[in-house]
Amino acid sequence: MDSQGMHDAVVSLAEELRGAEFPLRTTGSDEARAVKQELIGQIDDYLLPRLRQIGAPLLTVIGGSTGAGKSTLVNSLVGRTVSTAGVLRPTTTTPILVCHPVDLGWFEGNRILPGLPRQTGAPATGSRALHLVVDPDVPEGIALLDAPDVDSVVEANRELAAQLLVAADLWLFVTTASRYADAVPWEFLRKARARSTALALVLNRVPQEGLDAVPGHLAEMLRREGLGDAPVLTVPEAPLEDGLIPAGALEPVTSWLHHLAVDADARARVIRTTLEGAISSLAPRASVIGAELDAQVAAASALADEAHRIYDLALHEIEQSLSGGALLRAEVLARWHEFIGTGDVMRSLQSAVGRFRDRLNDLVLGRPPVEAEVRTEVERGIEAIVLAASDKAAERVIEAWRATPSGRALVEGDAVPLRSSNLSSAVDTEVRAWQASVLELVRRQGAGKRAAGRVVSVGVNAAGAALMIAVFAHTGGLTGGEVVVAGGTAALSQRLLEALFGDEAVRALTTRARSELLARLQKLLVAEAERFAQAARAGVPAPDRAQAVRTAVESVSAAAS
């Protein structure tokens, strides 16, 4: 194994992992978040320090359940009180590292556990710092770290314990005759197995009557879990002497530790086992991250696609509504028909007098000219249709999203409002712009010699209004009499236009006006859908992050071989 190459590969993997975010709630997001935290912790607290300095002392972390007697064990191994022991739970709140004075240099800097500040002297309770104690009785090349309880009622302790255990070259797992079947510690033991961390168990406080049955039962349980290689060091229950376990009872632990202290090769083997185990456990766990990144991207785009699909459907519905014929209220339509003449179009065309009379009427009655009313009416109608369709689409998106765990969190409590606040005025603006361009269209079409005179006789505004009405009844490909049947109420307008511009031109004009309107409305609806799509994509990493994680994992594996 190339240490430097491995170091660089692990550094770049850590970089990739730090960038992996999981904002969407998927089936695997919680797990991925936990795995990410754990991997980063393992890399920073253990792998990188160990890869940089393979010769550093063996860090033995003493972990275990609350009340199992970890602190007493450490004190007894050192031969004096370095860690507060007692009946109060949890006792150890500040982790204590005990080492030989020669080895102190290895631990003073930020080589291992860079996240924890260092502290010497009397341990201050409650501070989250690594407390360093030197003692010449501790063998050189071995450091003992007293960790907090893995199953403490204080959550911060549990987290710290997990962090410290990850940093260990060797776990000395302390349990007791009454606790060895607890579920929580076994979860930690399984994690140790998954990472091939070197492991030894201390079975503390075994009563006389249990000395035959209990160690055997524990060994059997370890075998069943695939941890049969881990030594079980049994410490019988004995009254404490000055708060320390009597030497006789502690003998199995001291001799095991002594054996490790004198044999540098054995220490190196332990370190190597744990290191290699940690490295080979990186790939399967990092692949969880890669898979979850893929899942996040897929979930985000599925949500966004769903939103766009529903809004597309809304646009289609708007199109249907607009072709449904009368966009005008019956009253306004009746007035329009009176204006352009209920009977013969040509008569009406020639009868400038009739229109003059209408104008006079409008003036006397104080109502707006009929074309203006048609335009207002068209505007109002389109706005109502678009708002209704857009609101309905938003409701459908919310309903669809609520059915998925990732979408549900995004729309909880109206996080995305039904419509953007300015949609109503945006529709107004678009429709007015469209109307202006319809008038422009008519004006240009009327510039031809044949049509010019006729357009002048009705007025551009009236011709424009007729075109707007015809657009909504435009049934594509029908002309003349067919339109009367199909188009119903808009037939008169169609005929007026045909008289002005001719069949062909009218068809082109209506198609053009219609597609322009739909294009403008589509722009609005896409923007509405995009609000949802953006909420889905917010914070989701780019699609290539997953590949980057996989590449980083591959280079770690390559460096290992």
């Binding site: 359940s65 009340g67 929580v184 049955a213 209220r329």
Partner: protein, 532 residues
């Protein structure tokens, strides 16, 4: 949650359960499955447990593996009923010891098959359970504990100096059962392992942790099954619970409190008072519905028909016949006949339908403002039923409003008679003149024609009749115009009223009902968890 109840005394369990029943009814089909299921399960459990009688008290010894539950159980039973061992975990399935008889049904309900019977008048009515551990590697032990913890009346949590601060106990059981302090006992066992000072420290520390869990009023008893220390106090504490016969009620009350607390997020924030839909919103809705129902078309037709009828009744007879060729606008809409049947009103335009949808949505959104999930969705779906159905119903309403029933004002006939007289006069004058003309043509000398101020009578009659009729028709037309406008307003009022009634019954009432369902949910919740 704001209180709507006077805080005088604790409502009895019976009332709380009635509130729970109402709550389940409201929640059914509205809330998520898990929440309704929890409420319904509690209701069933409470009814079953109360049905089994509260003169028996089920006390369960629960705790971690190795804390000495079985030793305590044996000590209380006074005989080695439960196996005690050094390897962990020991107790595999729950074991019952019953004082007195007649608890078979209760134990069947608890599904505890291993039973022992003891006779001791002091503990008559006690059903003591030895539970498996909750924290060992054996998962089925924990599942069994979780099942029984829901059913028993009194918990005795057994801890030892090694394990009293385990997260598995505090986070898994004591904190979630914080409402159950009244039926919880905590026993610190194995105190023979500690010195007196340590014992006091340990007990104090345990009490501190319990307080942090929210179990303020819980007593901690120190015992040792091995030396028998503290056993009498434990026995006395259990005996008291059995004698009081209150544990069943207290346990269920605590469950109801707990459920109320779990669901309280649904009644937080805004006042839960009944939301009133503002008048302006109602008006907008009626406007939109009226437009879609064709009310303006109908009123216009009513006015026109009125004028047409007036013209037919009182118009100038010489042009009156022309009016017959003009169609009757109301008849065209199929509104002329008596009430009923489909009208021929033009269907609502897409824009009008959209306006109806928008108005309905506004009403629903406004009414649901401030309500917690899922009520806004519920309110919207109750309001926004099928627009097609609504429009059909409105067509019927308009058709059935009897707008075609146009009674004629009485003066119309008088004016009609006057028209006839004037026309007759004109005819008389014309006939007279024709006679005079005929006589002249036949060269027959004319009789003298009476005159008024130089004007001959026949001429006067003809011109007067024609002119008078014409002027009368103009006057009548103008009067009919006023009448038409008045009638139009009346019809409009009537139709809007009818449409408003329909809006009330098919949109506003369901919306208000749905909003009110939240109100009654919260009232039930408050009643259920009230007091304390």
């Amino acid at each position: 949650m704001r209180s709507v109840l006077p805080r005088t005394k604790e409502p009895p369990l019976r009332d709380r359960l009635a509130a729970l029943r109402e709550l389940v009814e409201v929640a059914e089909g509205r809330l998520e499955g898990a929440e309704v299921a929890a409420a319904r399960a509690l209701l069933e459990r409470a009814e079953e447990r109360l049905g089994l009688g509260s003169d028996r008290t089920v006390v369960a010894l629960a705790g971690a593996t190795g804390s000495g539950k079985s030793s305590l159980f044996n000590a209380l039973a006074g005989e080695e009923l439960s196996r005690v061992g050094v390897t962990r975990p020991t107790t595999d399935s729950p074991l019952a010891c019953v004082w007195g008889s007649g608890s078979e049904e209760l134990l069947d309900w608890l599904r505890v098959p291993k039973r022992h019977h003891k006779e001791d008048p002091a503990l008559e009515g006690l059903v003591l359970l030895d539970l498996p551990d909750h924290d060992s590697t054996e998962v089925h032990h924990r599942l069994e504990v979780d099942r029984l913890v829901r059913l028993v009346d009194v918990f005795v949590w057994v801890v030892d100096p090694q394990k009293y601060a385990d997260a598995a106990l505090h986070e898994g059981y004591l904190r979630p059962l914080a409402a159950h302090a009244a039926v919880t006992l905590v026993v610190l066992n194995h105190i023979d392992h500690l010195s007196d000072v340590e014992r006091r420290q340990c007990q104090k520390d345990l009490e501190r942790l319990l307080e942090a869990d929210g179990l303020r009023r819980v007593r901690v008893l120190a015992t040792s099954a091995r030396t028998g220390e503290g056993m009498d106090a434990l026995k006395a504490a259990i005996k008291r619970r059995v004698e009081e016969e209150r544990a069943v009620t207290e346990r269920l009350t605590a469950d109801l409190h707990q459920l109320a607390r779990d669901l309280s997020y649904l009644c937080r924030g805004k006042d839960v008072k009944r939301t009133v839909i503002p008048e302006a919103e109602r008006e907008r809705l009626v406007d939109a519905l009226s437009g879609a129902a064709g009310v303006p078309v109908v009123t216009r037709a009513v006015a026109r028909t009125h004028r047409r009828d007036a013209g037919l009744a009182m118009g100038w007879p010489f042009t009156r016949w022309l009016r017959r060729f003009r169609p009757d606008p109301l008849r065209r809409l199929h509104l002329r006949q008596e009430a009923g049947g489909r009208t021929s009103l033009p269907p609502a335009s897409p824009a009008q339908r959209a306006e109806v949808e928008n108005a309905v949505r506004r009403v629903a959104t406004g009414a649901a403002t401030g309500l917690p999930d899922p009520w806004p969705v519920l309110v919207r779906s109750r309001a926004g039923g099928s627009v097609d159905q609504l429009l059909d119903a409105m067509d019927e309403v308009v058709g059935g409003a009897g707008v075609g029933n146009l009674d004629r004002p009485r003066w119309w006939s008088a004016a009609g008679v006057l028209q006839v007289i004037l026309t007759t006069m004109a005819f008389l004058g014309f006939a007279w003149l024709a006679l005079l003309f005929g006589l002249e043509w036949l060269q027959i000398p004319r009789p003298p024609t009476p005159e008024v101020r130089e004007l001959p009578w026949p001429t006067l009659l003809l011109i007067g009749g024609l002119l008078g009729g014409f002027l009368l028709s103009l006057l009548c037309a103008q009067l009919a115009r006023f009448g038409a406008a008045r009638r139009r307003r009346r019809v409009e009022q009537r139709l809007r009223g009818a449409v408003g009634d329909l809006a009330e019954s098919s949109i506003l009432a369901p919306v208000e009902e749905e909003v009110a369902s939240h109100h009654s949910f919260c009232r039930a919740l408050e009643l259920m968890g009230g007091g304390r």
